[in-house]
Symmetry: C2
Subunit: 334 residues, 2 copies
DNA sequence: GCTTGGAATTGGAACGTTCCAGATTTAGCG
DNA sequence: CGCTAAATCTGGAACGTTCCAATTCCAAGC
């Protein structure tokens, strides 16, 4: 097997200089159309593949974006990652996706590895815990980086934070349940003390307080399993719940099926995130919809503007959310 | 902002030559311990970050593995991708994950981009359709590459194929349903004509034929939505089903909840893949378990052996599967 | 003190691209 | 036809690392 062809080989075959080939590679306007075509033809004939490492050495702009996600198995994050990756791919950027699995140390390692690989920007949905290491590395490297969906680095402006207006969402859900006639509403799921839990809960608490009612909350892992068990631990007078996320709500939905309670009538339930499953279970699950696809696209666009034109995104941004009322809270069949 | 430090700067500070620094970088045994420590200290002091692009230029071994997945939103693939990435990360390899979204053209683009980025190996779960472009590119680049979970490139040996023994799994599931007393068993889900559908169905057909029974199948998208609707389209005498995958089965499970049929008694259901949700819905869903984590780890190990030691994996490998019987088919509560 | 051989270190070349400054060609115009 | 300006093209130099062959260092043995 022979050595990979380089632009030198292409140049020789096309009868031009390597500089011209380089210009063609960069779609420069200052090369004549017929020369360009000749060079392109030579590339194909010779089976040339671009050597990004060499290019990157000379001028460090990799066309590579790093994406570190705390829990890639969670459909919410998967959706985000997928759409972000595809949007960036459409603009010619490759995306390195990695899963930190809620491990701050692993997260730091992944970030380090990505920086070594020369990513030109990073998007991080940070793991809980001290993300200091990771963010310090990014700061030293001087790379544009955003915190999305979660914020663990407190310095404002350095790593712009972008997420959804969760508090407004849970407030909206709580009011909706009250309007449906719920007497006592619980908040279920999310690990206590964590920023997102508190944020999603804050809207609930505000509305409960405004109505002069008594709050009740049950905290734990944000999984179906937790939701499944949670139904047994609710006080008897609780007849509605706002869940930390859809996984918990879907778990509870299965839990009510188990104990034979009729969701949407005996009990009213609202999830959070509106993942695809919500409309595909029975009864259909009401949920606070976050437009992840739109959010991911906006993130990609903001990042591109930052990388290419130096336009720093606003230090903090919250995308609006929307309540999707379905059977599990209204009792009405679709 | 000043220029990034290089090994030259580190060398100057540590009072050694660049070659020595390079040796330290590679954990060479032939550098004295105290020199090594001095160099390491200098690196930290000066804030040195390794420039992989430069290294890669000189000796092309990127420590980068490409992973192209046909549908990253499917939990089955997400799990595989996640574990593969984490296993490789533990061995010092970064993974570029990309989603082709069942688009063969996009898949070819992604593969091309990864090759440009200098991946030292590729793992592809190919999109349906003509993956020729993608695989031809890989062949030209001469990179180790595996087809996993799906096979679209027919050439044997070039791109070793590794998957699960689906036929044995569906046969096992079908026998299990018969043993449970099912009278008429259907096969539900999967797009007709596709290799995996046929494979998963073949075990079912073989067992049905062996029992002298009449097969019945319902094909379509492998989603919860399809399963949800499928329950309305089953003939009345069908009292059990083997599903193409868990998503379809979970959809059917919701469908039976909707029409108030008692799963595990009126109807017996087995899914395929044993995704996490199976044990977290009600009733719990029986499923043919594929040990994805083990499979992903084995894939990573095989790939590493191939990359590092030139050990080609067997051209075709099928990992065993296991039936996990739960309430949806046995009627027994856990 | 001198030799010896292994351990430790070193300088230079090479990798394939981009960028720059200049060189060459082409086109337009009096 | 000669001049100028614009359009095109080109030959180094540079990027930061690794690899190789060569050199220096050091301790042990005589």
């Amino acid at each position: 097997m022979t050595r990979r062809p380089t632009i030198l080989d292409v140049a020789a075959l096309a009868g031009v200089s390597k500089s011209t080939v380089s210009l063609v590679l960069q779609n420069s306007t200052q090369v004549k159309a017929e020369t360009r075509d000749a060079v392109r033809a030579a590339m194909i004939e010779i089976g040339y593949v671009y050597n990004r490492a060499a290019a990157q050495m000379r001028s460090p702009s990799a066309g590579l974006v790093g994406l570190v996600i705390n829990d890639l198995r969670n459909p919410f994050f998967t959706e985000f990652a997928t759409v972000l990756q595809m949007t960036l791919a459409a603009k010619g950027y490759a995306t390195v996706i990695a899963n930190s699995d809620e491990d701050a140390d692993l997260q730091a390692k992944l970030v380090g590895s990505m920086i070594e690989h020369g990513v030109s920007a990073l998007v991080v949905s940070p793991a809980y815990g001290d993300g200091g290491d990771a963010f310090d590395q990014i700061e030293r490297a001087g790379i544009p980086a955003m915190q999305v969906l979660r914020k663990t680095d407190p310095r404002t402006g350095l790593f712009p934070f972008s997420s959804f207006d969760y508090a407004a969402g849970s407030a909206r859900a709580t009011r909706h349940l009250m309007n449906q006639g719920a007497q006592r509403i619980a908040f279920v799921g999310g690990l206590e003390g964590r920023a997102i839990t508190e944020e999603r809960k804050s809207g609930y608490l505000a509305e409960i307080k405004r109505a002069g009612a008594e709050p009740f909350s049950l905290h734990g892992r944000s999984s179906r399993g937790f939701g499944l068990d949670a139904v047994d631990q609710l006080p008897d007078d609780v007849d509605a719940a706002v869940c930390f996320n859809d996984l918990v709500a879907l778990g509870m939905l299965s839990g009510f099926a188990r104990i034979g309670r009729n969701l949407g009538q005996d009990f009213r339930l609202v999830g959070f995130d509106d993942i695809e499953d919500c409309a595909q279970v029975w009864p259909q699950l009401s949920s606070v919809a976050c437009d992840i696809d739109g959010f991911a696209r906006a993130t990609a666009d903001g990042l591109l503007a930052w990388m290419r034109d130096g336009v720093t995104p606003p230090p903090e941004h919250r995308a609006p959310v929307e309540l999707i009322a379905r059977t599990s809270s209204t009792g009405r069949m679709p």
